[in-house]
Every structure is written in C-alpha cells, then in structure tokens.
Symmetry: C2
Subunit: 114 residues, 2 copies
Amino acid sequence: MSGNTPGMDMTTLSALAEPNRMHIVELLRDGPLTVGEIAERLGLRQPQASKHLKVLGESGIVEAKADANRRIYKLRPEPFKALDAWLSSYRRIMEERYDKLDDYLRELQDKERQ
Amino acid sequence: MSGNTPGMDMTTLSALAEPNRMHIVELLRDGPLTVGEIAERLGLRQPQASKHLKVLGESGIVEAKADANRRIYKLRPEPFKALDAWLSSYRRIMEERYDKLDDYLRELQDKERQ
DNA sequence: AGGGAATATTCCTGTAAAGGAATATTTAAA
DNA sequence: TTTAAATATTCCTTTACAGGAATATTCCCT
C-alpha cells in the first residue's frame, strides 16, 4: 500500500509551534533546501538548524535525501493531510451561520445589559 | 465589520499542542461546556482546567459566556479558519502527484544505488 | 450579612526544551 | 592519507510551562 492518511499526531502541532521550525516549514514550502541554506536564510547557527530539522523529521513533517556531504530536506505531505483531516471535523464551527448566531446572541446580551 | 479572517497566530498551535487543551477543544466541538463539566470529563482538577481554558482563551480559541456562578465556554471559529487558510497554502504539497513523483524519484535512487 | 458553590489566581516545584559552544561524523578532493 | 566542507551530536545553562495545593473572587441563596 502507498497512500495512507493516518490520524493526526500531536507532535505535529508541537513541532510547528516553535517559530524557527514554522519558518523552516514555510521555507520548504517553495522547494527542498540544504541545511546550510536553511541556516543561512533564517540567521540560525548550523547546529540549531540541524536540531530543529531533527524534531521536524521525528514528527514526519520533513524528510532528508542524502547528496554526498549535503542533506536535502523537503516536506512530507502526510502530516499536512492529517492536520487537514482533523481540521475538517471543525468545519461546522467555521461555518458562517455559526458567526451570525454568535453575533446575534452577543447583541441580545448587550441589550439586556442596559 | 464582522466577518474577518486574519492571519494565523502562532499561539494557536502551541495552545493546541498540549494534550489536555486539545482534549478540551475536542470536547467543545460537540457544544459549549462549563468549567466543572470539562474538569470532570477530563479527570482534571478545577484549577488546571481553568488554567488551560485561560490559555485557550488568550489565543482566541475559546470564549466564555458568564452565567451567574458558572462560565460557559465554547469554541470561536476564527482560529480554525485561520489555520485552514494557512494549511491551504500547502495544498500543492498534499496533492497526489506530489506523492507519486516522490515514489518515482525514490525508485530511481534505489536503482542507481546498485 | 453569611455561607456555600463555581471559578480564577497565586505560589511553589519539577521538568522539558531551546540556544551556545565544542566536538564528532561523513564525504569529496588533493 | 591528510584536509576541508557540510552536517549531526553532546554537554551545559537558562527559561517556559504544567501540575499540586492553597487561597481569592464572584455569585446566589437564606
């Protein structure tokens, strides 16, 4: 089997919650990059970049392809798919109607307050 | 103005990355709940529930409606919309083609390795 | 006014995690 | 086989944060 979309991993969120790692992910959105390139663009020292990439790798967000000396990192689709699937169970809450009802109730409360 | 969908807040992710808070959010997905109800269902002590709800509130994930002694908490749609908007910029990476190309490159590399 | 219920806040402690600096590892090239 | 470049790992220190216990606050009721 090849294209499975498992449940969301909590480590996905904690990995993305760190600003430097989020920044790395946003960089990789435009294509694979080398550790050195990532470190340079983020103004990080190389060891920190490696550490953050390790965390991202352990949560499956990123994978590396060895190329001699270098390691080319890129995003893996699975965690994003899982996050999207999880988020979809909140579609009802994101609906427009939800907001309207909310505003309506808020108005009522404001009026009652006087 | 009423229906704005601002950019994603990093605190959304860190708030959700804590297991108890994620659990609270999943509970509230099915409807508003009282602090006591939340604490009871999660096996938390009341102060911890309040603390987690405070964090969720500060990141805008949750809001409370006062009802005498009690505070009824419910989800706010905005952070979920923002997360969805952010995720949508990764749709290309989630595409099926991405996986296929990936597998293809992997095959090539495996063959070259011999 | 006083008491009790529901919730919030404070203080303390332990722990996980991020950054800095140094070092180890791997690989290509001379 | 030594050297240098790219990356990973280790050790140390500091800080953020979660839980526990106690206390403060707010509100209703009598």
